[in-house]
């Protein structure tokens, strides 16, 4: 039997403390709650035992929050259940997000044992002043210790997260971070720019004027922020890192397969509170509140219904939505074009049964004329400029409602 490919995402919504810029689903929690949450996750994993037979799991990603806050026993239990329920491919990419200050050599050993083969380390900056301002719980020294322990434990596929556009950050601060990190030779670097999100401490500070021009924590001016983005591309490419997505860089062959799956609209199943899934063109999330998540997992109906995951929403699910063909096309474009390789016309035609020109001919022509999009043979991709203004370019691929209807006919 040929199994379908599947990616698994496991959400661990616990942190020692919330970072000042973070609006992801996470919060601190006591040991009892963590334990109850892990048990609920185990129950959720167990609930897929019928359905899981159809799939072969190609990537697993434990994200958060801070997955490294789990105890060795908890992590091992999660993997024990995953292995029991799912068929995980031999060459699966299994990533764990870790934060310096929460990992020990013992934990790293345990990750190796259960099959984790890639670590993503949240560093964000090499400057302790910036780390403190961001509300991180570690120093650069502590990161280095974690880094060395990880290498020593045998991890040979490591990612480091960095963030530009920080309050008070200068171009030199940023290039300093880039140089120091490339010198460590991680296999993968994620270079994000800060986005002020409502509901974060940063947003409050911003509204209070603490990030205003002239203040110590002034946000970098537009030109400077732009220069930071350009510097990242230049420094990282010089060091051998290939930009394969808007904010992601990798040594050859070290692209994060799990994240690529999101851009390529592979089937993925989210496990844990708030986790998002895409299964056979159905998108849904789990409830975000982790107490509610735990409660729902104790109710009987989630246990082994035997029905296909995408056939109907379960009590756990919210925003359950079956994508129309037009929505699938939109996603194909605005997710696929985040990759520097772009999208393949051939794949579009095979998937949707019509040439891309029939749907997006006008948009492609317009964006090409504006030098935001380029074509090389079969591939369509954003230009460098197109990447800079990707929101503008990608929004063009949203289809009008009127046009959606004709697509459906």
């Amino acid at each position: 039997m040929k199994r379908e490919e599947l990616e698994l995402y496991l959400h661990i919504p616990f942190c020692v403390k919330k970072c000042n810029y973070c609006d992801f689903l996470s919060a601190s929690g006591c040991e009892e709650e963590k334990e109850a949450y892990v048990r609920a996750m185990l129950r959720e994993i167990q609930s897929y035992r019928e359905e899981a037979r159809r799939y072969e799991v190609k990537t697993v990603f434990l994200g958060g929050g801070t997955p490294s806050l789990l105890t060795c026993a908890q992590t091992e239990a999660v993997f024990e259940y995953l292995n029991r329920v799912f068929h995980i491919a031999e060459d699966a990419e299994i990533t764990m997000e870790v934060n310096p200050g929460t990992v020990t050599p013992e934990k790293l050993e345990s990750y190796r044992r259960v099959g984790v083969n890639r670590l993503s380390i949240g560093l964000q900056s090499v400057h302790d002043k910036e780390l403190k301002m961001l509300g991180r719980i570690h120093t650069y020294e502590e990161f280095l210790a974690t880094w060395q322990q990880a290498r020593k434990a045998g991890f040979e596929n490591l990612n480091v997260d960095l963030m530009s556009g920080l309050p008070g950050q200068s171009l030199e601060d940023w290039t300093g971070s880039l140089h120091k990190v490339t010198a460590l030779e991680p296999e993968h670097i994620s270079a994000y720019s800060l986005i002020l999100e409502e509901g974060t401490a940063f947003y409050q500070w911003y509204e209070q004027g603490r990030f205003a021009e002239g203040e110590e924590l002034a946000l970098p001016a537009e030109e400077e922020e732009y220069a930071m983005g350009e510097a990242a591309i230049q420094i990282l490419e010089q060091a051998g890192y290939h930009r394969y997505e808007i904010s992601n860089y990798a040594l050859p062959g070290r692209e994060c397969r799990h994240n690529l799956g999101y851009w390529e609209r592979k089937n993925y199943l989210g496990i844990g509170s708030g986790a998002a899934s895409l299964i056979q063109n159905v998108r849904f999330h789990h409830v975000r509140d982790r107490q509610e998540y735990i409660r729902k997992l104790t109710e009987p109906d989630v246990n082994g219904s035997g029905k296909a995951i995408q056939s109907a929403p379960r009590q756990l699910d919210v925003n359950w939505e079956k994508l129309s063909v037009s929505e699938q096309m939109e996603e194909f474009m605005f997710l696929g074009l985040r990759k520097t390789a772009g999208i393949s016309r051939k794949v579009f035609a095979e998937y949707f049964g019509k040439e891309i020109e029939h749907v997006y001919g006008g948009v492609i022509q317009k964006l090409t004329e504006e030098n935001l999009l380029e074509q090389t043979g079969n591939m369509l991709r954003l230009t460098h400029r197109g990447m800079d203004v990707s929101n503008l370019a990608l929004s063009e691929f949203l289809l009008d409602e009127a046009c959606t209807e004709t697509e459906e006919l």
Partner: protein, 604 residues
């Protein structure tokens, strides 16, 4: 109304300064007279347009008939005609007043007599109405009814000794108002046996019944089957129904006779046949002369109205026709703009009138509109001896063909308390006003006389006047005539292309300042695009101001939310939605907001 004696009818309106409680009192009167049960009462029954409720102002006159059993045991018919408060709608006020025999003047017990109170009282007195003062809001801690009574007597010169002291909000002493309506407001006169003579004071269009004409019967009687003649338009028809006004509904009755206020429906489909102010008479037995009506008002301010979605052009035309039916001051004719496509050049009484029409079109007719800068009518004398009346700046001939231009000048009377005289004189000076004189009408109140160019007062003069006099100055004007003036056309170029919808005529001495302000404003309104966009102001091809919208450097969502793409999509949708509201001029996208923003340059 068979069986109702003329002596038991009272036709009246309520006049007041804005916020002094006119609509609340109207509600109380309706409630107390028992036409509606408390349960049926919705707050402010008379303001039945959404827009009026939201803004808390009355735009259209509303009429309602109630029955009051007075303490003397007799039943009286009250026809209450609500009136708008703003100076732009004086015309509407006049219409309503012409249907009344008396007016209740509501004055706030704390604030006393204010500018608009005066303006409205004078209008009522002009129409020979008996004015009956009422002091409202006496439940307020700051209420000072005795001082207000004195003020009414001193400033307005009407007896306020036994003015009821009321709270329309709580209903306190409203009964006394009802009794005084009976005792102080005169009953209508007129002979029901005379030939029909009825004044049209309003009309509405109903898709089932056609035009519904609101009228005051001055002489004679009208009933179902009466052949009627509109004396000005010459249209004839047979009456299908007559009736009076319930709250928000039409209640048919057998006949309307002299003294009554009511409505007529007839086989009238064409809205143009029934003109407000016209006289309705019996086609077979016409009256000798039409009623004087009221003075025809001409639009003062013109601007272009365009549908955002070009396909909605016919809808806009239909909507304008319907609005025109009971807003004779609204005029329109088709025009085209390079930037905005097909639309209409519309004439209005003033800027508020413009805004109200625009909002009604948007809300009641679901149209999304773009408005161009308002303009007055200029007279352009060409070298070949021809003279054209210019309402759209785009049509200005080449300067080489123009010998000279004239602009309309108004004679303005500004009533102001002495402490603000200096401030108001400065304002008039800034607006190219020519001082004509000043008279004190009493110790602390003076009338300033100025000659002002109309185009200086159509934008925001009224607002400026209010803010510089803390609301106390009142202002009235009449057209004096045309005067030769140094006028130029100011053009706006966006990315080197002239945007016709942004052009306007201005006095040469103000061109530089206005051009600079417009460029600044547009710079803030036009979002960054892929390329740099110069915004220039030009007079006769010469650039007099410039700003630049810098090219967009970066617009990117960097983060990956663990496969949760809904936020990404929302962001992109928002971006796309924003684009829909843009107008393409050359290769620049201009938000519709930008066209509107230049109308309010003096706000900041």
């Amino acid at each position: 109304m068979a069986g109702v004696e003329q002596s038991n009818i009272r036709n009246f309106c309520i006049i007041a300064h804005i916020d002094h409680g006119k609509s609340t009192l109207a509600d109380r009167i309706i409630e107390k007279t028992g036409l509606l049960t408390s349960r049926e009462m919705q707050a402010q029954v008379l303001d039945n347009m959404d827009l009026e409720r939201e803004r808390g102002i009355t735009i259209k006159a509303q009429t309602v008939r109630t029955v009051y059993r007075a303490k003397n045991g007799e039943e009286y018919i009250f026809n209450l005609i609500d009136t708008p408060g703003h100076v732009d709608f004086n015309y509407e006020v006049s219409r309503s007043l012409a249907a009344c025999d008396g007016a209740i003047l509501v004055v706030d017990a704390a604030q006393g007599v204010e500018a608009q109170t005066l303006a409205n009282v004078y209008l009522a007195l002009d129409h020979d109405l008996d004015v009956m003062p009422v002091i409202n809001k006496i439940d307020l801690p700051s209420a000072d009814p005795e001082r207000v009574k004195e003020e009414i007597e001193d400033v307005i010169g009407i007896d306020a000794e036994d003015a009821p002291l009321i709270s329309a909000k709580t209903g306190l002493n409203v009964d006394e108002v009802l009794e005084q309506i009976v005792s102080k407001i005169p009953a209508p006169e007129g002979n029901p046996k005379a030939p029909l003579q009825a004044l049209i004071f309003d009309s509405v269009y109903d898709s089932y019944r056609g035009v519904i004409v609101f009228c005051r019967i001055k002489q004679g009687t009208v009933r179902k089957g009466t052949p009627i003649l509109m004396m000005a338009t010459g249209a004839t028809a047979e009456v299908v129904e007559v009736g009076y006004f319930g709250a928000g509904q039409f209640i048919p009755c057998d006949e309307l006779d002299a003294g009554m206020v009511g409505y007529i429906t007839a086989s009238l489909k064409n809205v143009k046949e029934t003109r407000v102010g016209d006289t309705v008479t019996n086609a077979e037995n016409p009256c000798a002369e039409p009623l004087p009506g009221y003075k025809k008002v001409n639009p003062m301010v013109y601007c272009g109205l365009y549908p955002s979605d070009g396909a909605k052009y016919p809808d806009l035309r239909d909507a304008l026709e319907k609005l025109q039916l009971n807003d004779a001051a609204l005029q329109f004719e088709p025009e085209t703009s390079v930037a905005l496509g097909f639309g209409f050049r519309c004439g209005f009484l003033g800027l508020l009138h413009l805004e109200i029409i625009q909002e009604r079109l948007e809300r009641e007719y679901n149209l999304d509109l773009v408005t161009t800068a308002p303009s007055v009518i200029y007279k352009v004398h060409k070298t070949n001896g021809e003279m054209i009346e210019l309402t759209n700046p785009t049509n200005l001939p080449d300067p080489s063909e123009i010998e000279y231009m004239e602009e309309p000048i108004v004679k303005a009377e500004i009533m102001v308390t002495s402490e603000f005289i200096g401030a108001i004189m400065d304002l008039c000076q800034e607006r190219r006003g020519v001082y004509q004189g000043m008279e004190y009408i009493e110790e602390k109140r003076a009338v300033l006389n100025y000659h002002l160019p109309l185009n200086e007062i159509i934008y925001d003069f009224f607002d400026a006047l209010k803010s510089r006099s803390r609301g106390y100055a009142s202002f009235d004007y009449e057209i004096l005539g045309y005067e030769r003036s140094e006028l130029v056309k100011l053009d706006i170029l966006i990315n080197k292309e002239e945007v016709d919808a942004l052009s306007f005529i201005i006095h040469s001495s103000n061109a530089y300042e206005r051009g600079r302000k417009m460029c600044e404003k547009l710079k803030n309104e036009i979002p960054r695009q892929l390329f740099e966009i110069p915004i220039q102001a030009a007079v006769g091809g010469k650039i007099i101001a410039r700003e630049t919208v810098k090219a967009m450097r970066k617009d990117v969502l960097a983060k990956c939310y663990g496969g949760d793409i809904s936020r990404k999509k929302k962001l992109l949708e928002k971006q796309k939605e924003g684009k829909k509201r843009m107008r393409q001029v050359g290769n620049v996208e201009i938000p519709q907001r930008a066209f509107m923003s230049v109308l309010k340059l003096d706000e900041d």
